[in-house]
Subunit: 319 residues, 2 copies
Amino acid sequence: MDETGLIERYFRDLGAVRGDVSVGIGDDAAVLAVPGGVELVATTDTLVEGTHFLPGSAARSIGHRALAVNLSDCAAMGATPAWALLSLTLPLIDESWLSGFALGFGALARAHDVALVGGNLCRGPLSVTVQLTGFVAPGCAVRRSGAQPGDLLCLTGTVGDAAAGLAVRRGELAAIDQQWLCQRFEYPEPRVGLGAQLHGVASACIDISDGVYADLGRLAAASECSARIELEQLPLSAHLTRAIGVLAWQYALQGGEDYELGIAVPPTHWPALQALAARHGTQVTCVGQVVAGDGIELRQEGNQVQFQPEGFDHFSRNQ
Amino acid sequence: MDETGLIERYFRDLGAVRGDVSVGIGDDAAVLAVPGGVELVATTDTLVEGTHFLPGSAARSIGHRALAVNLSDCAAMGATPAWALLSLTLPLIDESWLSGFALGFGALARAHDVALVGGNLCRGPLSVTVQLTGFVAPGCAVRRSGAQPGDLLCLTGTVGDAAAGLAVRRGELAAIDQQWLCQRFEYPEPRVGLGAQLHGVASACIDISDGVYADLGRLAAASECSARIELEQLPLSAHLTRAIGVLAWQYALQGGEDYELGIAVPPTHWPALQALAARHGTQVTCVGQVVAGDGIELRQEGNQVQFQPEGFDHFSRNQ
């Protein structure tokens, strides 16, 4: 059973039922109603050494990524981030490590007006959990489930670079542009500004953290539709294509750690989405369409492609 | 350097400065102002196998404690808990473990009307991080820093039992009442109802999680006062006294994991605090006084006692 299945079985209905939970388990973040007409978005994510980053990774990168993955969840809900809590588990106190971690975390927090309001530090195997809370106008959170047949499926930025960067760091890939690819893995740029303005433009949105195949599949499933993806339209960087060649699309589909946004948009809103992306200095690319049905359909030059990705589920692959 | 010192040095001023942060790093929880006149209390705590619980501990107890430690922080701020997020890192999927964990977490969550609204599950060394958000009336959070010389220092329940329960589980202590002591360690009862009514009665409050010495010392330091503790007044259970004998007070002072509340109260409010505790089925005991000065003073039958506790700081003791 994968992470989603386990969460469904053991955790979905575990706590009390409260009327102020607008969106609970199952989206990129929870949406919580506060008296006075405000809604909050709340999310948490953990990075574990050996699972989410390699032993010996730069502390600054770990600090940056621990916050970035949460900022990306917040962006995918159409929210504006505000407050973070940090739980840091360390095998030993290494002040130069802490200083590097703080540098990475702090720069990204200040760039997005996020205050670090609390947390804890304890001893154990290296692991970082960040919890992030943000604001969204009431009723304006962008869910995974709002896509309709006929909507376009779009991606911000380029995808697959981070997976290639990780492969470089693992010593599995040598590339001319390896520095650029590693940067994409180690210092992802969550689409915070763009995400906060998606309401009224996008019909659905998801954070691309486990690869395009898994995440657009989740968006389609939550919307009770199918996702049709045209492989030649995937936004691949020249760096990735140079490093990987004709199989670069596989990195995009099944690699993870991109922290781009997967957006469903009615065709009439496509120009608005393009304008919004341009305003935020991000490219946005149409990679397919939402269609009736279920599952995910991959096409290349008009033909269906059979492909079984390994995915990026933390419990369904060997790590 | 201990946990508090490291947090001060690396994390206090790390993120953005926001006007809506009423209380940031340095209390039991953060206090956050939401437009519309609501304040939220937000806290997070991590339990790591080998640091906070023994390998092989019952999953139900781990689920209970992971939430209880956060409920206790929330109670110490005078807040009412509402929403939890859960990050669970597991070395492998063991469905009977997950089921036990869910049982412990879920029962406590429902008892205190806490909804589990999200989280994540990933692979790695066993560790649980819970983040809890609650409500407090604006300006009514009970801080560590409000105590004044002349205030009484009080404790809910009894202290030291959990440390003795842990010693039993470690095989370091044999006791007739070991089942009861272990229960106090494995299933602490945070003072949620009492905590939520402390505003207007208490001048300061802290969660007793690292032992009475460390935590009342923190309350006194935050209030820029000294804490005078009368050892013979420490509320010790008959079970603890039977198991430990005349040195039971040392378990209370330097043991941890009690999750009782340390409360400073002006003498005129002492009857109100007693009535409040009685209404919530909790005992409350006066153990000393806030006095001018700094540090902590221990007294036994009128004489000063010299005592250097090992404390419970996760970075200042060997574990």
